[in-house]
């Protein structure tokens, strides 16, 4: 038997291999890449100039600013929560850890519309808290605070989920060593823990940010869809789509798609270079 026809017993026939690869590529191409391509094709349907002009349109620009503001507020807050929760869960022993982790994971399994509904039922004008706040001139629902809360709800677990497995694996010994050497609490955190978890933190913040900027269902429920005030990019996309402004809608969509691609790129880079410090590559 010549080398050319040798096939290890643990491999499939070349035909089977090619077939499977073709199926995978075809399936992925049709299902995932085609929609991505369509976004850009539709955005550029009337040319690059028209697409860029639609971005400078008042509604679009206001939506971009609003989305950036919301991300700038909710992502750091969720990052702080993620770090605090990961520290609490991994550095201490207490009863009910599993319950706490499940509660933190809760937003993952709740529909975004239900999330928005919860915010409306908590802070809407017909509730005790909400009614009082509206009277004071600080409405939550139909205003930015409501959107921020809804976004935070939906992206809540991202950072914590990335940090907890990594910090568990890294253990407490380094921090304990620093403590025995006389470092104070904050010094231990900044100089020992944070460098260890920074890539996992960045990874989590990346995912959190992508989701925060793209959240649609929860925001659709709590915002008043006021252009310029409470219309984020995704809800503006919906509005423009309904107003026969398909180029503008798809251009905004292309902006978000580019954000998604950048997120994927950074994600892949992080996984390639720092796989040892990321939860994703350890998760089974």
């Amino acid at each position: 038997m010549s080398d050319a026809t040798f096939r290890p017993a643990t491999e499939e026939t070349p035909l089977a291999r090619r077939l499977l690869i073709a199926l995978a590529v075809l399936g992925l191409g049709l299902l995932v890449l085609a929609p991505l391509v369509v976004v850009f094709v539709e955005a550029l349907r009337q040319g690059v100039g028209e697409a860029l002009a639609s971005l400078t349109h008042r509604d679009a620009w206001a939506a971009i600013r609003l989305t950036l503001t919301i991300a700038a507020i909710s992502v750091p807050l969720n990052a702080i929560f993620g770090v605090a929760a990961a520290w609490f869960i991994t550095k201490f022993d207490f009863r009910g850890k599993a319950v706490l982790i499940t509660l933190i994971d809760l937003p993952f399994s709740v529909s975004p519309v239900v999330a928005g509904l919860c915010i409306v039922l908590t802070f809407g004008a017909n509730t005790a808290i909400g009614g009082w706040l509206v009277g004071q001139g600080y409405p939550i629902v139909f205003a930015m605070p409501g959107i921020i809360l809804a976004t935070m709800f939906v992206t809540f677990p991202f950072v914590a989920r990335e940090l907890i497995p990594v910090m568990i694996e890294q253990g407490r010994t380094e921090e304990e060593a620093a403590l025995t050497l006389g470092a104070g609490g904050w010094r231990v955190f900044w100089t020992v823990t944070l460098p260890n978890i920074r890539w996992a933190l960045l990874y989590g913040v990346l995912l959190c940010n992508a989701r925060a900027m793209g959240e649609f269902g929860a925001v659709a429920v709590v915002s008043g869809k006021i252009r310029g005030q409470t219309a984020t990019i995704p809800t503006t996309i919906e509005m423009l789509y309904q107003e026969y402004l398909s180029v503008a809608a798809f251009t905004l969509a292309a902006v978000l798609a580019l954000l998604a691609l950048v997120t994927l790129l950074l994600k892949t880079l992080l996984e390639l270079r720092h796989a040892d410090q990321l939860a994703a590559t350890h998760r089974h």
């Binding site: 017993a9 643990t10 491999e11 499939e12 499977l20 995978a24 590529v25 399936g27 299902l31 995932v32 890449l33 085609a34 929609p35 991505l36 369509v38 976004v39 929560f81 605090a84 929760a85 609490f88 550095k91 022993d93 207490f94 009863r95 706490l100 509660l103 933190i104 809760l106 993952f108 709740v110 529909s111 239900v114 509904l117 919860c118 409306v120 039922l121 908590t122 509730t127 709800f153 809540f156 921090e175 304990e176 403590l179 104070g184 904050w186 793209g214 649609f216 269902g217 659709a220 429920v221 990019i233 995704p234 919906e238 789509y241 969509a253 978000l256 998604a260 994927l264 994600k267 089974h284």
Partner: protein, 278 residues
Amino acid sequence: MKAPLIHRSPMPGLGLSMGITLTMLSLVVLIPIGALLLKGASYGPAGIWETVNRPRVWAALFLSFRLSLIAALVNLVFGVLLAWVLVRYRFPGRRLLDAAVDLPFALPTAVAGISLTALYAPTGAFGSLADQIGWKIAYTQWGILIALIFVGLPFVARTVQPVIEEIEREVEEASATLGASRLYTLRHVILPMLMPAALTGFALALARAVGEYGSVIFIAGNIPLVTEIAPLLIIIQLEEFNYDAAAAIGIAMLLISFALLLAINLIQVWSRRRIGHV
């Protein structure tokens, strides 16, 4: 000795980290969900049942669940295939494909929604082809199904990939030396090892699909009893300011989510017992 609530520890930051964790968890997650349950409680189980027990609501819940189930099954098969191809084979563009698997995860749902609609509507690239054989995709249940498959795609692939990476070649070689054909080895040796992870991914994809709104709302026809999804029902009730009815349907969906979450945890417990890790 009964375990204390919190072990004493020289680690700093207990107060601060516990404070931040519990406060934010309560404010952002627990209180809103509590408000939903409270609203349901004040509406009363009888009221909730009366709202949910209408053909339109059952139809929407069943539609969401049934189509999510089918989509998750498709993703189960395709996800395992994808994971296998990505881990075991080397071919040009493999890195690109690997990154592309995560796209549904990173792409905002509204973007996915309008692009899938543009693609599968009778005027779209795929839709027009389908139209020629009389097959309407967009604005029917087929459209919803495709959107749900899109949304759940990464889950199975990503949970199965690490498991495939860790399969020891010795097991496959042993199977081959004992005379098994490659197909037999794949079916009876490798597949069972992947099953727990695949099932976890399946349940995750299912949970995601059941509550999905943004990707589906553009491509669904929104016809009650036919193509109306459950989250839309909640929004309709909210637009009519029927908070009670909205809360009732929301609680129904929450129960479904919890059941799925429980199923995921049980699968992981079962598989840990069987295989040792998941």
